[in-house]
């Protein structure tokens, strides 16, 4: 059983607010990822980190930013939320082979 945790599970927030989605893993994995999933659609990679202080953008352009100050923690931040940011955000980690996913955060911006 993988140990990767995301909070909050659900978030409804007003336009213009700053939000941070939390992601933590206890497995010591070097690689961490953020994927975005719109309802009924596939997942797209938006951010990737291969270790502390290393991050890069994914295949899908996103206005969000990430940081990796500690191995176990990989938060995602939106400085000013907009309705177009409404989606599900899934955090994941990997060391060699399979990628383990958190439960996801379902974000709704009103």
């Amino acid at each position: 059983e993988a140990d990767i945790y995301q909070t909050p599970r659900y978030l409804v927030i007003g336009t213009g607010k700053k939000i941070t989605l939390e992601c933590s893993q206890t497995m010591g994995h070097d690689k961490m990822y953020w994927y975005q999933q719109d309802p009924g659609m596939e997942l797209h990679l938006i951010h990737y980190s291969y270790g502390v202080n290393s991050t890069e953008k994914g295949d899908l352009s996103s206005e969000s930013t990430v940081s990796r100050i500690r191995t176990e923690h990989f938060p995602l931040t939106l400085e000013s939320a907009r309705p177009s940011h409404t989606s599900q955000y899934l955090c994941a980690s990997s060391v060699a082979g399979p990628t383990f996913f958190g439960q996801g955060t379902r974000l709704t911006v009103v």
Binding site: Y33, Y35, Y48, G97, T99, F101, G104
Partner: protein
């Protein structure tokens, strides 16, 4: 760039029937292949993976998949499904040791009594 095609968006079957969910990928280099399952309002759970070695891969919950390099396919099979197998299934491909995943659009498997 690699892509993943899941040929069926929805597959309805009756309980205890066999099922095959099809997945094709395009890549000019060696890839790693995965199947994930997603239950409503949940994250993704790894069903099985192909990294190297035997082309027939067995996973959890009685699922298996076969890697076919010549046909660039990685179809998922189960000989007898249960109601609890109703979920969305995603095929994914990774190229290289960064394990960045490219996903298919998913197949909704609905198991009816």
């Amino acid at each position: 760039a690699q892509s993943v095609t899941q040929l069926d968006s929805q597959v309805p079957v009756f309980e205890e029937a066999p099922v095959e969910l099809r997945c094709n990928y395009s890549s000019s280099v060696s890839v790693y292949l995965f199947w994930y399952v997603q239950y409503p309002n949940q994250g993704l759970q790894l069903l099985l993976k192909y990294l190297s070695g035997s082309t027939l891969v067995k996973g959890i919950n009685g699922f298996e998949a076969e890697f076919n390099k010549s046909q660039t396919s990685f179809h998922l099979r189960k000989p007898s499904v249960h109601i609890s197998d109703t979920a969305e299934y995603f095929c994914a491909v990774a190229k290289g040791s960064n394990y960045k995943l490219t996903f298919g659009k998913g197949t909704l498997l609905t198991v009816n009594p």
